[in-house]
């Protein structure tokens, strides 16, 4: 009984503090200095750093809508962030803590602040879009086409990604953002295409596959990411599986548009033949690009599937086909397991770690 009384009092006091802070405490107007004067914001104190930045159209990647469960929304807080909170420490390494990294969803604005964020995040915008088409690619992969409404055009670099906003679509649900690579051509500025694979119980993919319809309005923000072609002339290999096709397709479109003459081989792997997609479109790049070869790979074709292409794990086919790994660069996109297996193989074959590019989204 005493335990119950103490718990009740503690809960009451906690609620009282939260309510008091929310409605009674006035922190007034606070300033946020970003990147040593690059941008200065005036915001009302009391909200989280993440929501205040979002309110000012500065989008920090975050998958959980600011609830402190994803650990993505890290920014450097140089002054005014207050002490590190227990809700942040699980998501920060010792090095990040030493570098003043914080979870922006957990940091409350109570005074003037000085923060640092990657310069490219200042260029990120939110886009109101309309889903114009949904195309089945395999049994669990779809292509989603979005027409941009406001703003009506986007600039991005082939290989970058956007975050798709998922509204609450069932009782007890939460708003979340999820990152997806852009699959479309950089030159088509009025639309974006995403290739999305259904994740069992995935909040965003379930929304996309079961609720989102052509004609619906959606919100995207971006672009983000540094997964894009280097400016060298080194021969390249692309290795992708499933929805990892997306950024490679965008890069190939860009190579075609810019008449890029670099030698490139694209290994695209799946388990069954019916899990491979966009094969005709990829083969057309062999005609349109100066020195490009497309190698689709099926790990274990079904007995009823006709297949005269490469058979085996995509890593096995890369090992068989790649003769000059030490001279090449590799661009990997797919599951974390595939990326790790490819990375190990390529290093073993003599490729420098710094020549292997991937976007794991982890």
């Amino acid at each position: 009984m005493p335990v119950l009384v103490v718990s009740s009092i503690a809960t009451f006091l906690t609620v009282l503090l939260v309510v008091a802070e929310r409605y009674l405490v006035n922190y007034g107007e606070c300033s946020i200095d970003i990147n040593d004067g690059d941008k200065e914001l005036k915001v009302q104190g009391g909200d989280s750093l993440l929501s205040s930045l979002t309110g000012e159209k500065i989008f920090i990647p975050s998958a959980c809508g600011g609830r402190g469960t994803c650990g993505y929304c890290k920014v450097t807080v140089l002054e005014g962030g207050g002490p590190l909170l227990p809700t942040e420490t699980p998501f920060l390494t010792r090095k990040e803590i030493a570098e003043d990294m914080r979870l922006s969803c957990q940091v409350k604005i109570r005074q003037d602040m000085r923060i640092a964020i990657p310069q490219e995040l200042l260029a990120v915008k939110e886009y109101a879009c309309r889903c114009s088409e949904i195309v089945d690619l395999t049994h669990d992969i779809k292509l989603f086409r979005f027409e941009l409404v406001e703003p009506d055009a986007i600039d991005f670099v082939a290989g970058q990604y956007v975050q798709l906003f998922t509204p609450v679509y069932f009782r007890g649900g939460e708003e979340v953002y999820r990152a997806y690579s852009i699959a479309s051509d950089v030159s088509e500025k009025g639309m974006l295409e995403l290739i999305i694979r259904l994740v069992p119980c995935g909040i965003c993919t379930t929304y996309c596959f079961e609720h989102l319809k052509a004609g619906d309005e959606v919100l995207l923000n971006g672009p983000y990411g540094e997964f894009c072609l280097s400016e060298t002339d080194a021969p390249m290999i692309f290795v992708a599986g499933a929805s990892g096709m997306a950024p490679i397709r965008s890069i190939l479109c860009d190579m075609r548009n810019t008449q890029n003459r670099r030698k490139a081989t694209y290994y695209f792997g799946a388990n069954k033949v019916n899990e491979l997609f966009m094969l005709d479109e990829m083969r057309q790049f062999e005609e349109k690009l100066a020195d490009f070869k497309f190698v689709p790979v099926a790990a274990s074709p079904g007995k009823d599937e006709q297949w005269d292409g490469e058979v085996g794990l995509v890593t096995e086919v890369v090992e068989r086909g790649l003769k000059n790994a030490s001279e090449c660069e590799a661009y990997l996109c797919g599951s974390p397991g595939m990326i790790e297996a490819c990375r190990k193989l390529l290093v073993k074959m003599g490729m420098g770690e710094d020549k292997i590019y991937f976007d794991s989204f982890e």
Binding site: S7, T11, A63, C64, R67, T69, C70, G71, T89, P90, F91, F170, G172, G173, E174, R178, A179, R197, V199, P200, C201, G202, I203, T205, T206, G241, A242, G269, A270, N271, A299, S300, L313, V314, T315, S335, P336, G337, M338, A341, S360, F361, E362
Partner: protein
């Protein structure tokens, strides 16, 4: 069964869809403590401990993940494969670390019966003795999974 305030908070997270679509408890109205206790009894009846079961699940997942989505034979009667997605899942219990979004499916080639688990399921069983609530999409029945893979 009475729960501590911490368990009440945890149950609220488990019932919500904050971390996974549909939450971890499905349509199960029992408390988290009741679910864990009853599943522990079932596992005891099957003669296996949580750590032992989780170890066997991880062994199968590790064998399957080397096939990068392809099928691997894990015993005379079982084959398995994994599907991975980008990103991490967070354990609903308050501790650090993210868990890869990886789903393992095991199929009995004689009966065609399948069982599916995530890396988060392995962690939840190993560290928290939690098999999820009835009606949850990733609920595992202790007796069934032991019969299938142990």
């Amino acid at each position: 069964m009475k729960q501590s305030p911490e368990m009440d908070n945890l149950e609220a997270v488990l019932r919500s869809s904050k971390l996974v679509a549909g939450g971890f408890l499905g349509s199960d109205r029992r408390s988290v403590c009741e679910i864990i206790e009853e599943d522990r009894r079932r596992l005891d009846n099957a003669g296996v401990g949580c750590k032992e079961l989780a170890g066997r699940m991880r062994e199968i997942t590790d064998a399957a993940k080397r096939q990068l989505g392809g099928c691997v034979k894990v015993s005379d009667r079982l084959e398995a494969w994994v599907e991975e997605a980008k990103g991490v899942l967070v354990c609903p219990w308050p501790h650090s670390g993210g868990i890869l979004k990886r789903i393992t499916t095991v199929r009995n080639v004689e009966t065609g019966e399948t069982v599916t688990w995530s890396d988060l399921n392995i962690h939840l069983i190993e560290e928290h003795g939690f098999f999820e609530g009835k009606g949850s999409a990733m609920r595992l029945e202790p007796g069934e999974i032991v019969k299938m893979i142990c």
